[in-house]
């Protein structure tokens, strides 16, 4: 595998004050990959990062994650407690301890800690859900409902938050009030199997048999599908792959910590290793792509973004990024194909059209198409930049009045933009 990391030897980074990696920390690309070897790698990642940043809560969080992944909940909790001694206001540490308490079935303690995490960081991912679950398990339904009411105000597009609010209300026997958030949950996530079950239950309690039956039928269809998928997953379960996905997560977390401390080589090495362990980990690849792009390493960025496109084929973001990367590396045909794909995937997003128009304009090809694309971009999103692009396209297609009108629109939206001003002056003076 070309993604296997290589030993880099002693770091020359001015920030590299910690001990050097031990030779055994870097797995040989030819060594047999086993569950034992990859879990050993994860342990080593944790050991090294805490050695490098002994007083850093984020490094401790990596160790906690590694311990939790190994099923050592007590040791993970100890890491989180140490985090708290370093930073008593760490929302993540409170959240980690709350998760450990949940694992151990101590719901009252989990609720206390999750509430504290939420106080410290109201937008901490998963904290409100954890608190609501702990409260539900403790029989505190009204409190759980209150938490989720706040959460749906903060994240109105979270289907899970809507669902949990509905569940809390069902437990309070507020069946009518439960329906609205549950219906919102299935609006946001049309395949939300459990929400259909809860909707059927609510309508049953309210004596609306027809409505209940309607939701039950939908539930049956979705459930049959998810069970078939579950059986398939179970049939194909592959232990090493599962473990490697967890280990990839540890590498990714560690890479993020190195990046935050400016140790970009270490960050890159960890993200690469994460990518090697988990062919479907988008986050580590995203981090690598951004790093390579920032460092102008376009040839290295391209295969990474290509792999992201394969991981998330429905996302227009990666073809869009590829369009830019191919254009920057002098491959206009490849750029054109990627940008056309972006337009196909996100027909209502102006970015693909704008980027493709720009490509044609900068390569002096298909100018009429560039004009049509720029118009489409403006139609979808009448921003100053899209108008400026349209102005350029008009000008290249010898439509000077059109160019002047478009650049005036751009200036109207961004009156202080000097580039637009210069374009306006230039078009105005052209015969």
């Amino acid at each position: 595998m070309s993604e296997e990391p290589r030993s880099e030897g002693p770091s020359d980074s001015p920030l590299a004050g910690g001990p050097l990696p031990r030779p055994e920390a870097i797995p040989s690309p030819h060594a047999a990959v086993t569950v034992e070897s990859v879990t050993g790698e994860a342990r080593e990642v944790a050991r090294r990062i805490i050695e490098r940043f002994p007083e850093e809560p984020d490094a401790l969080a990596v160790v906690a994650a590694e311990r939790a992944l190994s099923g050592k909940t007590d040791e993970a909790a100890a890491c989180w407690r140490k985090c708290l001694t370093l930073d008593p206001r760490s929302a993540e540490a409170h959240h980690g301890l709350a998760s450990a308490a949940m694992e151990k079935g101590d719901h009252a303690e989990a609720a206390r800690l999750a509430r504290k995490a939420l106080e410290l960081n109201p937008s901490l991912a998963g904290a409100a859900r954890l608190l609501a679950n702990a409260l539900l398990l403790s029989g505190q339904f009204a409190e759980a409902a209150a938490v989720m009411e706040k959460e749906v105000r903060r994240e109105p597009r979270s289907a899970e938050a809507q669902f949990l609010l509905g569940e809390a209300r069902l437990q309070m026997k507020q069946y009518e009030k439960a329906i609205a958030p549950l219906e919102r949950a299935v609006e946001l996530l049309p395949n939300y199997t459990q929400a259909y079950y809860s909707l059927a239950a609510a309508h049953t309690r309210l004596g609306r048999a027809d409505k209940a039956q309607q939701y039950r039928e939908k539930f049956k269809v979705l459930k049959a599908k998810s069970q078939a998928e579950g059986r398939e997953w179970s049939r194909k379960y592959e232990d090493l792959g599962t473990v490697r996905r967890g280990v990839a997560m540890i590498y990714r977390f560690a890479g993020n910590v190195y990046q935050a401390h400016g140790e970009l080589k270490e960050a890159e090495r960890h993200w690469q290793r994460a990518a090697a362990h988990d062919p479907a980990d988008a986050a580590c690849r995203h981090a690598l792509a951004v790093l390579y792009q920032q460092q102008g390493r376009i040839p290295e960025a391209i295969p990474i973004v290509e792999s992201l496109r394969q991981i998330e084929p429905a996302s227009a973001a990666y073809p869009l990024a590829l369009g830019g990367l191919y254009a920057d590396s002098g491959r206009p045909e490849a750029a054109e194909a990627a940008l056309k794909e972006a337009c196909r995937l996100a027909p209502d997003d102006s970015q693909g059209y704008a980027a493709l128009a720009l490509l044609y304009l900068t390569t002096d090809r298909k100018l009429p198409e560039a004009l049509a694309l720029a118009r489409k971009a403006v139609q979808l999103r009448p921003t100053a930049m899209n108008y400026a692009l349209l102005a350029g396209a008009c000008q290249r297609n010898a439509d000077l009045p059109g160019a002047v009108a478009a650049i005036k629109e751009a200036l109207q939206r961004e009156p202080g933009n000097q580039q637009y001003r210069r374009m306006y002056e230039q078009f105005k003076t052209q015969p």
Partner: protein
């Protein structure tokens, strides 16, 4: 004189312990003095065949009619990869009184050497002697009780052997009101050794789950009344619903006078088979709300019991589940509907940490409200290596019914018996010493069993009822009993097969709190009439014979109090 002093000292010790933080329920571990030498085996050699972890259930019943409840343990024969010098077999222990038991397997002739999974008891030939049905991995066995302390294997003649399948729970019930006990036999999954493939999780050997094997259909055998049965699985509508059956309970959930069947499925939706009264069944699990837990999720369902925990006159179901899953409390709402009340009732407290197996609705403190007992233990003996929040052996959990629809976890304050770790599978509940308090027997996988003596000193009254059918089946299986004592009205039903693939409680037990008279008992015989008895004394075992309208007091051969 010496015995009296011993009793007084024991009572003082119980009082002392109570004063030191014990609650109203006190269960003591008396395993060591029972003389029970049984040690369960699951046939395992490290290959981790799926059938290993589902073994085994047990039965408590009075096989010899001496008034003392005896214990029958199922066992697993060696599976490929292991051998045994002495083949493991099922064991029957005769209750001698005073928590002393004698192994009578040999003389009773019930030492089946198959791979025992589920068991139920019922007097299928209505001769007055309870018979045993063993549901195996492999051919099943029906032991007919000869009435002289011995049994005869009548499987072949009866036609209930069922071939090479993986069994689960089983239950005798009269599906068509003809007075003869029919037989429902649940099956787990379709399995043969060539279908087995090793599995590792986090690099450690682990058992495969049921979803990796094809589901199997259950069986219903109709009793022909002449010692033989006819397989009516297809005609009754049962075969149309293959699943991964585990514990089952047969009970009349909708009060229509016919016995229905609730079949748990492991990692799949449960089946609630509604009986039309003529032995035809419709599967109504989803519409009734009993198929899934409160979130519409299929859980790793294991054991089930039926009982009316909230005195609304409707039987509820309690279902044990896999680790990190709440057990499910199917609260019966009436009209054929259930809701999972696990959160509102608090009936999952202290249970998430492990896999839950045998269970029972049992009034341990005789306060008139049924508590819940659950046996815990994991599948994998190496589980702690991959998750330190779970252990292979575990303590049981006791949830005390607070009388307001909620339960409290009293495991830590209910005696040393609650501290004993086991790898629970089947758990049975009966009054082993006839002192009016229900005791506990836990079958522990790969280990000796655990026997817990109920020494709760509440001063509450109680009544035990044994039914004797005349026109209907002899032990009153399926009969509904309503007991009114002052402001307390309770219902119960004689069940055959319940909990985790086990059998217990043929003799109904009702706590009465401080009420010292029973005003009225109504017995609705399955497919028969109703008997009403009034103004009855308490703190005794009575027998009610169908059609007589009056009780007779049953006396055990021995009543030993500590």
């Amino acid at each position: 004189m010496g015995a009296r002093i011993a009793v007084a000292v024991a009572a003082w010790l119980v009082g002392l312990a109570t004063a030191q933080g014990e609650g109203p329920i006190v269960l003591r571990d008396v395993t060591a003095r029972t003389g029970i030498g049984f040690r369960h085996t699951d046939g395992s050699s490290g290959r981790r065949y799926i059938v290993e972890y589902v073994a085994s259930g047990l039965a408590t019943f009075d096989y010899d009619g001496d008034g003392l409840i005896d214990v029958y343990f199922l066992n697993g024969r060696p599976l490929p990869g292991t051998t045994a010098d002495v083949p493991p077999r099922n064991h029957l222990y005769r209750n001698l009184g005073g928590f002393r038991f004698k192994d009578v397997t040999e003389e009773a002739g019930v030492g089946d050497e198959g791979f025992g999974l589920g068991v139920c008891i019922g007097d299928y030939d209505s001769d007055g002697h309870p018979d045993i049905y063993v549901n195996n991995f492999g051919p099943n066995v029906l032991y007919r009780n000869n009435g002289d302390g011995t049994f005869r294997d009548v499987t072949s003649r009866a036609g209930v052997g069922r071939g090479e399948r993986v069994g689960a729970g089983a239950s005798f019930l009269d599906v068509d009101h003809d007075g003869h006990l029919d037989l429902f036999v649940a099956n787990y999954i379709k399995f043969s050794y060539d279908m087995h493939a090793p599995l590792t999780v986090a690099g450690l050997p682990a058992y495969r789950g049921p979803q990796q094997y094809p589901p199997d259909a259950n069986n219903l055998f109709r009793n022909n009344g002449d010692g033989t049965f006819t397989d009516v699985s297809q005609a009754s509508g049962i075969t149309a619903h293959p699943g991964s059956g585990m514990g089952i309970v047969s009970a009349d959930y909708d009060n229509d006078g016919s016995t229905d069947v609730f079949v748990l499925n492991d990692n799949a939706r449960n089946f609630l088979f509604h009986n039309d009264g003529a032995g035809k069944f419709s599967e109504v699990g989803l519409a009734s709300g009993a198929a899934y837990n409160l979130y519409g999720q299929e859980t790793g369902n294991m054991g089930v019991d039926a009982g009316d925990y909230d005195h609304d006159g409707l039987l509820d179901f309690f279902v044990t589940t896999y680790h990190k899953e709440l057990p499910v409390l199917f609260h019966n709402l009436g009209g054929g509907l259930f809701e999972d009340a696990a959160l509102s009732a608090g009936s999952g407290q202290g249970t998430l940490r492990n896999v839950k197996w045998g269970c029972g609705f049992v009034d341990f403190d005789n306060d008139g409200y049924k508590d819940i007992f659950l046996g815990l233990g994991n599948l994998d003996d190496n589980i702690q290596l991959r998750d330190d929040t779970i252990t292979y052996e575990d303590r049981p959990v006791l949830l005390r019914n607070l009388g307001n629809g909620r339960f409290a976890n009293v495991s830590d304050s209910s005696g040393d018996g609650m501290q004993v770790k086991s790898v629970a599978r089947g758990v049975a509940f009966d009054d082993l010493d006839n002192d009016g308090r229900i005791d506990v027997v836990i079958l522990s996988s790969r280990r000796p069993p655990v026997i817990l003596h109920n020494q709760s000193a509440t001063g509450n009254h109680w009544l035990q009822i044994r039914l004797r059918g005349v026109k209907t089946n002899r032990d009153g299986v399926g009969a509904r009993v309503k007991v009114v004592a002052g402001d307390l009205t309770q219902i119960d039903e004689v069940l055959s097969g319940r909990g985790y693939q086990s059998h217990f409680g043929s003799r109904l037990h009702l706590g009465l709190g401080k009420r010292d008279r029973v005003d009225r008992i109504e017995v609705r015989w399955i497919g028969g009439g109703t008997d009403v008895l009034e103004n009855l004394p308490v703190d005794r075992l009575i027998a009610i014979t169908e059609g007589t309208g009056h009780p007779t007091e049953e006396r055990a051969d021995e009543h030993v109090a500590l």
